[in-house]
Amino acid sequence: MSIKVIHPGLATTIQDLGRPGYYHLGIPISGAMDRLALRSANLLVGNDEGAAGLESVFVGPELEFTQDAMVAVCGAELPPRVDGEPRETWTAFPVKAGQVLSFDFLKGGARAYIAISGGINTEPKLSSRSTYAIGALGGVNGRAVQPGDTLPLGNGAKAVREGLAVPQALRRGPGNPAELRVLPGLYWHRITEQAQKDFFDDTWKVANEADRMGYRFQGGKPLEFVEREQPFGAGADPSNITDACYPYGSVQVPSGTEPIILHRDAVSGGGYFMIGTVISADMDLIGQLQPHTPTNFVQVDMEEALAARQERAATLSAIRETLAGQRA
């Protein structure tokens, strides 16, 4: 009951929905950057939504199956092939023992989620199989997958029909330019009114430094600080604060120049001020942004953030219901 990694792609890691509960010790939640995509892929192959799958960045892996299984690929448009024959994304398809799953070049998005019926069954660490490489937790011996790895599969997937698909209207991805909704707060008062306006008016671009820990953006005007005498313990730069916790999705701007949004493998705290936080409904979208994607930050209030959260939950419910209906 396993699959063999012939080639891992660029960076392929095992991810589930993460390990909450240890952020106060510097161990982040980890898990799929695009959770809706992982959940969708799992539902398509009859797994629990939180089963462990593979997260591949930009380039897909090459996997040899030693047993028959159902597979689904959601998130990025990374077209799958079975023994060279093309298959659809967001759609369940069978792979037979001895066949090889590979991928074409990326057509859109950044991270593809590959679910296999039964789910990947590596040993959980702190109740999760998610890979957190900095802390050597989860994954395959605490790391990304490598050539020659054998990934064990679980069982208990429900039987599903080949061709089961998430309807186009329920597939969620960022636009171009991308829009990320931000609730201002935290140390928002540290920058001038003009800088507050500029941050939302300017169009930024995803930088090359964009990974599971955080996404960096460039191209907007540098943020001007409100003058103050730096408090004891904060450090000399106006962007420094007495080291504090960093919320997931928080937007820090070291020296006021390049905003960084912390994601699932966030550092849990540090000494840079933050101007606000990307709302929970838009966190999944960040994982699908390619470097150089133009991005606008959109100011929202709490009411709008909670409405967006409901809307995202409704999308997930619709996916569940549609697939359950098709399955019956």
Binding site: Y23, I27, C245, G249, S250, S268, R309
Partner: protein
Amino acid sequence: MAARYSFGGDEHIFVEVDEAMSLEAFFKSLSITNAVRESKIDGVTEICPANASFQVKFDPDRIAPDDLLAELKALESTASQAEAVLATRIVEIPVFYQDPWTHETLMRFRERHQEPKSTDIEYAAKVNGLGSADDFIKAHSGAPWFVSMVGFVAGLPFLYQMVERKRQLQVPKYLRPRTDTPKLTIGHGGCFGCIYSVRGAGGYQMFGITPMPIFDPKQEISYLRDFMVFFRPGDIVKWKPVDRDGYDAAVADVDAGRFAPRMANVTFDLNAFNAGPDAYNQKLEEALR
């Protein structure tokens, strides 16, 4: 000291107890987070104390953000009236100051440092008005330190020196962060010390290395079998300078499963400490003998 509350998106509340670092602010933050933990508010998913602030993560589907905000403010006023007393532990951490591994690393990143011609510890001595590296080591290891935050990466303790502010060691961070730091490096940035729990990037000055692992994801080290992270906020650390032989012996003990951190349970009383830090520290350290 009036706390400042702010939402971190729709899933976090961030509370800044004070802009500046102080034992009072740390203590207040720790008291409130303890009270939040004990109150078991439905919908609260993570409670993260920091140096002079803290953060609560919550599920807005289970508790409305404004309701949680009101609960936290109520807990703040209760916790502020509590006695500043903490049941904790004091731990002795061996340090090999000016070791060859951090020395090799700091030499590789000299162009990112304020004073490329001196070592990190020589620079730290100079900016603190101390005559030599040895004087700096005396000041660094002479008084205990509070673990005022655990985080950044897995199990890394931030440490705050338990002396009057005028004696507190302060050193700027590197001009540009390094891309490498040896595991278990004793670092310092601003007024905070730290122990790098894993190898990786870092911007703190490097003074030495400890033989005592503080994070073990495999949970094989004898004292990390129950849990992989050693430190908790509120722990008190006393550095013990060791030489190369002492360092090597401790590493051998760790490898053989014989190393047991020297530690003791103590009660810390902030008011008694403030009345006379040096005498109070001496009493704390007696628990280690």
